[in-house]
């Protein structure tokens, strides 16, 4: 088993393997996303309160899910890279940060587009929106730290420490924001307490989450290939490919 990991973590092997795999992820993502878009936009019935406006959740919820999934994924990769000194794991972490930040941004934008007709305002200091915003700041800090250290090896390890500190903090931030929100007096937004969602509405959302995850892995493999090329630009095996 260790031999497998060792082989997997070697840049030329990974470069070849990832090149073969990513189209599969990409096509699977396309099929699943198209199918769930049909499910979400046509098959699912309109909400009795929000009409068709609720359908943005088929982008919003999967993005929010990805934003958290990618942070944890990034921290695990960074931890593996830090502990076992696997460069490929660091490359994975480096490549996931911009993707995670984009999904977080997408979740925030779709959330506020949904909020405008539903709450009558672009932004409310809702617990989930706020913790999502802080998550975006965490991603940006990670990327800023990485980009300001020139030496790749040092940048890898320093940002790995930051990702691990961040992942310990993410649950604390999430629950403290939630607690802060429930404690605050004044206008509270309780539209979330809608009756539980029906199967027709829920199913496309779950498959959309799967589709987004597949899409993320397709993008990740492509961008890790780019990272590997850049990091290994002085080694010999690259001449075979470029």
């Amino acid at each position: 088993m260790w031999k497998f990991f060792h082989q997997f973590a070697s840049p030329p092997h990974f470069y070849r393997l990832a090149g073969n795999i990513y189209p599969w992820f990409g096509w699977a993502a396309l099929i699943v996303i198209v199918a769930s878009s049909y499910g979400g936009l046509v098959w699912a019935p309109p909400d009795y309160q929000q009409g068709d406006g609720f359908r943005i959740i088929y982008v919003h919820v999967p993005s929010a899910w990805m934003s958290m999934f990618i942070y944890v994924y990034m921290a695990i990769s960074a931890g593996i890279g830090l502990i076992w000194r696997i460069k490929l794991a660091h490359a994975m972490a480096a490549a996931s940060a911009p993707l995670g930040a984009s999904f977080t941004f997408l979740a925030l934008v779709t959330g506020s587009i949904w909020g405008k007709p539903m709450w009558g305002t672009w932004w409310v200091w809702d617990a989930r929106l706020t913790s999502e915003l802080i998550l975006l700041f965490l991603y940006l800090g990670y990327m800023a730290l990485r980009s300001s250290i020139e030496d790749t090896n040092r940048a890898d390890r320093a940002s790995a420490v930051l990702a691990l500190v961040g992942v310990v903090n993410v649950p604390i931030i999430h629950y403290s924001v939630e607690w802060w929100h429930t404690l605050h007096q004044g206008p509270t937004v309780t539209k979330f307490a809608a009756p539980s969602i029906t199967v027709e509405m829920l199913l496309p959302m779950l498959t959309m989450m799967l589709g987004f995850t597949l899409y993320f892995f397709a993008l990740l493999l492509m961008s890790v290939r780019g990272e590997v090329l850049q990091r290994e630009r002085h080694s010999k095996w690259i001449n075979e490919y470029v």
Binding site: F137, G141, L145, N153, V161, V165, G166, W179
Partner: protein, 227 residues
């Protein structure tokens, strides 16, 4: 290494840092003056109306404390890294995490503790009632050490970088937000005569978590930065 050896190393490191800090005590005053000035800005910018100031005072004081602790981080590890004494700490037989914890403790004693002491002054200026002063000081007493510990991780990560200052705030502020939430909430609850103990207990729990985990992150970060 015996336990007594660890305690001895901790105490002597704190003593050394305090002695060095008192030789340059002008530097210690800067974050405190900054704290007082930021709290002065709010009546000027928002409104001098006392009832409004009373309502926003917990938030204003806590934001000012957070910013001032961020400012104070400039003197935490930089001089030791510049003059090479940090490398000696890394090479010393004592665990690096312990020594960095001692340095952070000394740093809190000269930056956080005076801030707790002068906070009633700023609070009275913002028309905070006397009943809430106890909760304010207690929340700062529990919260500023967490800010120092989180800040120390950020400083350790950025200490060798040229554009470290702005980056540091970008790294530290999101991590410090829970402290701000509970600190300001505890004070605000005392202000509106609700029992603030829940928020204070949570601050204490976060302090314990930071005390146990942050030193290891600092040590790892310093080792990477000195590479």
């Amino acid at each position: 290494m015996s336990r007594a050896g660890w305690t001895g190393a901790f105490v002597s490191q704190v003593r050394l840092d305090l002695r060095v800090a008192f030789r340059r005590w002008g530097q210690m005053l800067n974050p405190l003056m900054f704290f007082l000035m930021v709290t002065t800005l709010f009546p000027l910018a928002v409104s001098p109306e006392l009832s409004l100031l009373r309502d926003i005072s917990p938030g204003v004081l806590w934001v000012a404390a957070l910013l001032s602790s961020l400012l104070a981080l400039n003197v935490l590890f930089h001089s030791d890294v510049d003059d090479g004494s940090m490398e000696l700490l890394v090479l010393s037989p004592q665990p690096l995490a312990l020594l960095l914890l001692a340095k952070t403790a000394a740093h809190w004693l000269i930056s956080g503790l005076p801030l707790v002491a002068i906070s009633p002054l700023a609070a009275v200026g913002l028309n905070m009632p006397y009943d809430a002063l106890g909760a304010l000081m207690l929340s700062l007493l529990l919260g500023t050490p967490i800010l120092s510990l989180i800040g120390a991780i950020g400083t350790a990560l950025t200490v060798g970088l040229r554009r470290g200052g702005a980056l540091l705030s970008l790294l530290v502020l999101p991590l410090a937000m829970p402290v701000l939430i509970f600190g300001a909430r505890a004070t605000d609850m005392a202000l509106t005569s609700i029992d603030p103990r829940g928020a204070l207990y949570l601050l204490a729990a976060m302090l314990m978590l930071a005390l146990t985990l942050a030193p290891f992150a600092m040590a790892a970060a310093i080792r990477i930065s000195l590479d």
